[in-house]
């Protein structure tokens, strides 16, 4: 069980990113906003690829970043699972080797191979274990990416536009997989997208970001019923077309 608490600031050329939010375990926070508004930057700040100017990032008991205490864990010590739109599978490694990758150097060979075999079966990719990523389907790629991310037991899962390039069937498969994983591992999930309608059904909370500022945070129903500003209303768009909205 790990709760993510974020309070960071980062001065940029065009605007200042200043966010303060938290995500509970088993909760999926969807970060949405117009292009170039700081969504991907937020993910990079959480990953540790970019350092904030000041603030804190707390993940459960662990401090990932604290400007006052001088703590800034490098990306490889943050214990964060990542999933990209293109899945970012290592093209020179087989499916099996991709899944094994996060255990290299930390888990003994026999135990590692057993664990990999379990994950290949768990994510239904054992039949493609010896293939290279270029030779597997989109659905298989997403399961390989998820298996690879989850085998190390991350404390947080970050998803960057994970379904934008998928067709409807694959999107549905991905959401089912995400629900399973979230429930099983009991970790917070942050999903960044510019297209709300694909992910609204898996969201527990929405965070509307615009030019580095949080306009509003809450469930999509709350935001739909009482948007804080006209910008929120505009970014949410016609939700009623995609989900059943209780108008009372």
């Amino acid at each position: 069980m790990s709760r993510l608490q974020v309070k960071i600031e980062k001065e940029l050329a065009e605007f200042k990113l200043a966010v303060n939010f938290s995500v509970d375990s088993e909760q999926t926070l969807v970060v949405i906003g117009p292009s170039g508004t700081g969504k991907s930057l937020l993910l990079q700040l959480l990953q540790g690829v970019i350092t904030p100017d000041h603030g804190t990032i707390q993940l459960g008991e662990r401090t990932l970043y604290n400007s006052e205490q001088g703590v800034d864990l490098p990306p490889y010590q943050r214990d964060i699972g990542l999933l990209f739109q293109d899945f970012a599978l290592f093209p020179h490694l087989t499916v099996e080797q991709n899944v094994e990758y996060g255990l290299l150097g930390t888990v003994q060979r026999e135990e590692r191979l057993q664990l990999v075999a379990n994950y290949l079966e768990r994510f239904s990719i054992q039949d493609v274990a010896r293939r290279y990523p270029a030779a597997i389907s989109g659905g298989e790629s997403q399961r390989v990416a998820m298996a690879r991310a989850m085998i190390t037991g991350p404390s947080l899962l970050l998803l960057d536009e994970p379904v934008s390039a998928l067709d409807n069937e694959l999107q549905q498969q991905f959401f089912d997989l995400l629900r399973e994983v979230r429930g099983e591992y009991q970790i917070p999930v942050i999903l960044v997208t510019h297209d709300l309608y694909h992910v609204i059904k898996v969201s527990d909370e929405l965070l509307i970001l615009n030019r580095g500022r949080i306009l509003q945070q809450g469930s999509w129903k709350e935001l739909y019923r009482s948007p804080a500003t006209s910008s929120v209303r505009k970014i949410l768009g016609p939700i009623e077309r995609y989900v059943e909205v209780d108008r009372q």
């Binding site: 690829v49 290279y132 991350p154």
Partner: protein
């Protein structure tokens, strides 16, 4: 004058081989520095590393003389340590070959590193691998075709080096006369039949190296395009 062409071939391979090993080690390191570390002044460093590609061999030779000569920084150091001058030795030929072939290695490695999807590196970090481990397991294997191409090009360039070598190593028969220098001497002394033979053999060697480069590069690409191991 009778030239010992076997010696020239052996010397050329020795000079090109040693300089290519040095170029491989430093070239990969410098390309990594320029692409991933981008230290202050990286653009100046990039220009300095590229200059040997565009400068005339005589200017490169002149710079090398000022460095390797008795009053040069490196030349004086070597003189103090060994009691021998670096000029007009095979070692000086290695230095010349190194300087002219390094840019090819750096350029080739740089473009290979730059073509690697940053998401792959981010994924590697997120899976607990530090910079060194990520370089070893992801960056280096993915850049292998480019590095290999750099090695072959650098080796070929080192084999063919003439101008700067002539200025710092001279053209001393049986000591520093690499194949290009020997060809020059053969032509100058009117021994065209032997020059023809040497030129053809040399061209064949260069073509074989390029063929090896293409085969190895193609094998890597085929493996990643979906064939099972």
């Amino acid at each position: 004058m009778e030239y010992n062409l076997l010696f020239s071939f052996k010397l050329s391979l020795f000079v090109a081989g040693i300089s290519t090993i040095l170029v491989l080690i430093t070239g990969v390191g410098l390309a990594y520095l320029l692409v991933y570390q981008r230290p202050r002044g990286h653009q100046l460093l990039d220009i300095a590393l590229t200059l040997p590609l565009v400068l005339p061999p005589t200017i490169i030779g002149y710079y090398l003389i000022t460095l390797l000569g008795r009053n040069g920084v490196i030349g004086q150091l070597v003189l103090d340590l060994t009691g021998d001058s670096l000029m007009f030795t095979p070692q000086a030929a290695i230095c010349a070959a190194y300087v002219v072939s390094l840019p090819l290695m750096v350029k080739s490695c740089k473009s290979s590193f730059e073509s690697i999807d940053p998401h792959l590196l981010a994924a590697s970090y997120s899976l607990g691998h530090n910079r060194f481990s990520t370089f070893w397991r992801i960056t280096l294997p993915l850049a292998r075709p480019g590095i290999l191409a750099g090695v072959i090009l650098s080796f070929a360039r080192a084999l063919g080096e003439f101008g700067a070598t002539l200025m710092v190593a001279g053209n001393i028969p049986g000591k520093t006369d690499t194949v290009p220098l020997a060809i020059y001497s053969l032509v100058e002394s009117g021994q065209f039949v032997r020059a023809n033979q040497v030129v053809l053999i040399y061209t064949l060697i260069a073509a074989i190296f390029l063929l090896i480069s293409n085969i190895l590069g193609g094998r890597n690409l085929r493996a990643w395009k979906g064939e099972q191991r």
